[in-house]
């Protein structure tokens, strides 16, 4: 029996060493990279941008760093998070960015009537959790909060290869074939809206923020604004367009009112012409690359941003 236990122990030790080595190799391989293009925690380290784009999937899809760099001469980076229309999440993401970068001068947050305050105690669908799985093992101090937000458990944090195997990202980690999925630094979706698969409807209006939730949103935004101020960052809110079937003037007034109340610079990019042209969208609430270009034209001509950025024409 003694010999058995000795050999079992020895085998287990060797096994542990082997999987640890493999895990370390994979961690080195993915260091500083993204494996799907969405998990930009390390990709956006040491960028030290002047302008940071924040927000939900709309923030990720609508803000083109290239445009801002060219027109406002501000080094830009987009850290919008696919799948999360919550201020809380945006703030978490911003904090992660700031732990690895110098504070930017400006933060542009995408806002619209679908944005909520957010509450970590309620289970929200953790979009793209798979992609973030390679951060789960022995997370760095800077990434710990995000790893916990994604509810990676102790097995995933401390057992080598567990998270990578469980979320099936082994081939992605090795090949890194999607590492540069978004070379333009934002989603830049060239798809046209497939109205057969995804028919036009007004269902999105059911997800507008409810009146009872507005005070929470206000508080969250106030908190975010205060946080930015404490880091000498100027927070700006831009309301980006949705397709007219999801647009309601009254609902789209709410973000404006909140920002005015909190003294946060607000720009409304929901132009009638952009909203009513289906060619600008790849689904009800997301602009495609074409639409983004239209919106950028609008922003440039509007000159509000010039004032906010204090750039003289």
């Amino acid at each position: 029996m003694k010999q058995l236990l000795k050999n079992i122990f020895l085998f287990a030790c060797v096994l542990l060493v082997v999987i640890s080595v493999l895990q370390i190799a994979l961690s080195i391989r993915t260091k500083g990279k993204s494996i799907s293009g969405y998990d930009t925690l390390d990709l956006t380290a040491n960028v030290n941008a002047d302008l940071v784009f924040l927000g939900s999937s709309r923030g990720w899809a609508h803000f083109d760093p290239g445009f801002f760099e060219k027109n406002y001469h501000l080094k830009s980076v987009n850290i919008g998070m696919n799948g999360f229309s919550e201020i809380l999440v945006s703030e978490l993401r911003l904090k992660n960015y700031l732990s690895k970068n110098k504070s930017p001068k400006f933060v542009i947050l995408n806002i619209d009537p679908f944005i909520k305050a957010g509450n970590l105690n309620h289970s929200i669908a953790l979009t793209n959790k798979n992609d973030y799985a390679h951060f789960a093992f022995m997370p760095s101090k800077e990434n710990m909060e995000m790893v916990d937000f994604y509810k990676f458990d102790n097995f995933e944090k401390y057992i080598p290869l567990y998270a990578i195997f469980k979320y099936k990202i082994l081939t992605d980690c090795i090949t890194l074939r999607n590492a540069n999925a978004f070379p333009e630094g934002y989603e830049a979706n060239v798809e046209k809206w497939d109205t057969i698969k995804d028919p036009v409807n007004t269902k999105a209006k059911q997800h507008y923020i409810k009146d009872a939730e507005i005070p929470n949103l206000e508080n969250a935004l106030r908190k975010l604004n205060a946080f930015c101020k404490s880091k000498n960052i100027k927070l700006i809110c831009i309301q980006t367009p949705v397709y007219k079937s999801a647009y309601d003037a009254k609902a789209f007034e709410i973000p404006k009112q909140i920002c005015q109340k909190l003294n946060i610079p607000f720009v409304d990019a929901c132009d009638e012409k952009i909203i009513s042209n289906i060619d600008n969208f790849y689904n009800t609430i997301h602009l495609n690359k074409n639409g983004v270009a239209e919106m950028n034209k609008l922003l440039k001509n509007g000159k509000e941003l010039d004032t906010i950025f204090k750039i003289n024409p």
Partner: protein, 481 residues
Amino acid sequence: MTFNSIEFLAFFLSFYLLYWQIVGKSLKMQNALLLLGSYLFYAWFSWKFLALIIISSAFSYCCGLSISKAENEKRKSFFLYLAIFQSLGLLLFFKYFNFFITAVADLLATINLNPNIHTLKIILPLGISFYTFRLISYILDVYNEKIDAANDWVAFFNYVAFFPCLLAGPIDRADNFIPQLEKKRQFSYAQTVDGFRQILWGLFKKIVIADSCAPITNQLFDHYQDYPGSSLLIGAFLYIIQIYADFSGYSDMAIGIAKLLGFNIPKNFNYPFFAQNIAEFWKRWHISLTSWMTEYVYTPLSFIFRSSGKKGVMLSIIINFVLVGLWHGSNWTFIIFGLLHGLYFIPLILNGTLTKRNKTTSNLKMWFGIFSTFAIVMLTAVIFRCESISMAFEYYTHMFSKSLISKPLITTGYVVLMITLLYITLMFVTEWFGKNENYGIAGTFIKKSRALRWSFYMFLVISIYYFSFVDKTQLFMYLQF
């Protein structure tokens, strides 16, 4: 808790330590602990049916003793039939009552009689197909004086409920197992290592091979109308391999666990896909069931029909395999499955290959035999899988239609399919080189350095680790029987 679960690991670890370290000195205590453990294991799955297995064990135990004490033939037969009636009767009721009722109703409907027949809501007690056969073989062996009736009821109850084999076999025989229960088990380092090795191989087959095939085959069989014939052919191919990997993997784990407890259970699979004809196939597939059926069903049948020569043998074999099919489940598809296999024997019986041994076969003949046997067995996998004969028929017609030569579509993608095929190849190559061993990796690299052996085991362990996240809901297939 199936063998590949955390709960089982915890259970077995504590059980193992108690078994060897604490009660290892006393046979009585060891057997008592074993029985307790087996019942706990069973109760975990279905404590409601625990009473049933205990009652059946007690009944057969008493009948066995009555037979041995009986003074005349008539009394002996009485207890024999009593025991068989009790155990077989329960099996027939739980497993086939609804099927029988529906079949009778369908039959009566054809002559326009529609009696009010209700099927009962019957849940199949876990393992009943397996332990019933252990009970029946026991009582028949006692009656035929092949073994003495068991005096030690703890040993006998252990024989019936031995937890490694309880849920899905192998169906061990009393003359092999009860003597082992009546002797104290000695801890053997070699046997324990061998057991671990066999468990590793079983886990590998189940988790890496069977559970990888399952998502692909499920998709193909559930939506066969949407796929070209070439995909359906891949589905049949993967499915027969899936059954093999799942069931032989489970058997390996059961036998391996038994070894860890000091018991020797005969092998249940002997590389069936290396068989060169259907007779050899069935000597290598689910050996415990086939040998059970051969001894208690085929032999009596072939004796009764012995004056009818070849026709008698054919009839016996067909009946035998229809019953084998039926054992798997109460569905016409299983009956057809069995019938097909029985019919497969006919060419062999007719040209006398069954009885004469060919001393030398050329390599070409050998490979031809292997591939053709595999092909005809693979075809029966379809009817085994389908829920109805009509569905199976549609699957076959789809598979052999023009779309057979079109490009196959696999929803999980070609990469996953390629990896699965690579692992399947690894399994067969390993088993080919180990085909004289009790199980695939028993002798792999045994004569080489420990480093090489351990590297191979590491590779298996890490593969199991990787694939263990594939789909946690894939229970062992044979648990449903």
